[in-house]
Symmetry: C2
Subunit: 209 residues, 2 copies
DNA sequence: TAGATTGTTAATCGATTAACAATC
DNA sequence: TAGATTGTTAATCGATTAACAATC
């Protein structure tokens, strides 16, 4: 156990925690109460030693001889990842992709809530997407600041992604999930994650027969 | 230079090549002819040494004192990743997400072509999504085998994802891009990549102020 | 108790970086 | 030529794994 918050936990470890949490969610849904590093590892294709080592950065969450109580470990991981609270997210882009993201049901029960949807096109501004009314990007900064939103998702064409990122950063956003197939330049206190399906596909074709 | 195909190139290297290619695409679009490992590294937040080392697994693509000719390096990376050919992809799931994927324009110019769209719901089968007519999952195996499709994308609810994966594998698919928030079990000759936006968001909240 | 599994240490393994000769 | 940048080697750094005492 070493839940010392000043520890510098490797980012690669942080990156695996959501995967562990997702597997625990699944186990809980299957009605299971207890699991082990061995079982988790088998399901995820990760060694049990790695799972134990990763978790040990944050504390001793298991019991020797028994394993981990799933609900307890879920709580602890949510705490570590800070998804024991709900985070509001601003979505920019109300095209096909933005619309699909706005409709996606999978955010709510895992700690996230889309708070507002922006678009630059006058044709889209004012329209409804589910329960959202699309706002103009002109109102992006004031809205995000007023609601103190720290997370943004970019679902605009690649050529506009950097300027949207600049606007989000200017509004105070500290984490950006970028769906545009382009690398973003942001200040070092802002985190960016990328979702580009083609990158994943290209990573697989290398190995195909 | 060591373009020995029996070399066992680390998967982490393969994973970066699509990122390099994407950055080169961008540079080309900006009208640039030549770049350097230093410039690429700056744009991507990667050291120039790593880029040179990664590329050196596949050959010497640059010129001392000059750098890399962008169009040539694009060609070579496409060759290495085998996206110098077009790959057909089967999409399973025609809900909001599947529809958005089917509409997405970004596949075509980067080596991929959605060949067919499947859904299990009788309400959706037969309907049009863009130029696609949604097919029944009952026809999945015959269609995929007839067209010799090796890649699949899963955009169905988590509870059906594993059985869809099993069907894809049974049909001969060797690479799966899974949008469902669940880990898949597949034979070792089948590759899986995951897209789960919540995992990315959870990886960022850890660091937020 | 006997069996099982954790948390942790030390050893191994692999990836990244620094440095530089080669050369355009 | 002088300046710049590659490709590659060796050194460093960090991550994974194996192993096991602790203990439930």
């Amino acid at each position: 156990m070493s839940s010392n918050p000043t520890d510098n936990i490797p980012d690669i470890v942080i990156g695996r925690l959501p995967i562990y949490l997702r597997a625990l969610n699944r186990l809980a849904q299957e009605g299971r109460d207890i699991t082990s590093s061995h079982e988790l590892g088998q399901r995820l294709g990760i060694s049990s030693a790695q799972i134990r080592k990763d978790l040990s950065h944050f504390g001793g969450f298991g019991k020797q001889g028994t394993g981990y109580q799933i609900s307890y470990l879920q709580d602890k991981l949510r705490e570590v990842l800070r998804v024991d609270q709900e985070w509001e997210v601003a979505l920019v882009g109300a095209g096909d992709l933005g619309t699909a993201i706005a409709h996606y049901k999978g955010f709510a029960d895992r700690g996230f809530h889309i708070a507002c949807v922006f678009d630059a096109s006058p044709k889209r501004v004012g329209q409804k997407i589910g329960q959202f009314t699309v706002l103009s990007v002109d109102d992006l900064k004031t809205t995000i600041q007023a609601r103190n939103i720290k997370l943004g998702m970019i679902a605009v064409p690649a050529e506009y992604a950097q300027q949207v990122a600049d606007q989000l950063v200017d509004a105070g956003v500290k984490g950006i999930l970028n769906y545009a197939p382009i690398n973003l330049n942001v200040p070092s206190d802002v985190r960016v994650q990328y979702i580009d399906p083609v990158v994943h596909l290209q990573r697989m074709t290398y190995y195909l027969p």
